[in-house]
């Protein structure tokens, strides 16, 4: 590649890629939004609906009422 071709490539790249501003920054602070997103994900994972708690409670009551069925449950796990 000679000097003329290099200049040509530089020129083409300058035309294609937009110039980057020296003080390019987002219009607003994005960090609070990142924190909200992270907190939301954690809260979503931790939240167990009341219906599942009710099912778990019913399961525990059944296991306590009929403990002999526990080996049968384990048989199917």
């Amino acid at each position: 590649m000679n000097a003329q071709e290099e200049d040509r490539i530089k020129q083409l790249l300058k035309q294609t890629l937009p110039p980057v501003e020296s003080n390019a920054e987002p219009e607003r602070d994005l960090w609070p939004a990142v924190l909200r997103r992270l907190d939301g994900d954690v809260a979503q994972r931790k939240a167990v609906p009341w219906f599942d708690w009710a099912l778990l409670g019913g399961l525990a009551v059944f296991a306590v009422s009929f403990p002999a069925t526990i080996p049968v449950f384990l048989y199917y796990l």
Binding site: L56, L59, F62, T69, Y76, L77
Partner: protein, 148 residues
Amino acid sequence: MNNHTYLRAYLAGVFLPTLAFPALLTVLFLGQLTQPTPFPVERIVVFPLTFVPACWGLWNMLWVASRHRTHLPLGLHGAILFLLLLPAGATLAKALGVITLGPHSVTWFHAIEAPYAVIACGVAFALVLYYLAWKYIVGFVNRVLGVA
């Protein structure tokens, strides 16, 4: 981590049955020590040792493969598996002499006698157990292994 997705899905599926099996063995051996009639442990463990873990792993692979088309929640997907394993396990247990069907009750492991009403409730609660186990435990392992 996009490689070997189905292998990781299988491993996530077999996680819980692999943990539950030693618990079943412990209960059976304790029962052998305390009950007057011996348990046929070697016949009892055939189903939970061979069929159940493989089915859980394959069923999780199926969920990973089909979830974008079916949009079925993991808990419901797991509860359906119990409906397939229930007749399979009962048939195998009957064939191996693990259960005895009576006119009013079923005797499991030559020791546990349960009326059919309790069995019916047990089936409903086993569905609940499968739903919760798949939703929370298999779902958690899926997330840890990067499957879902």
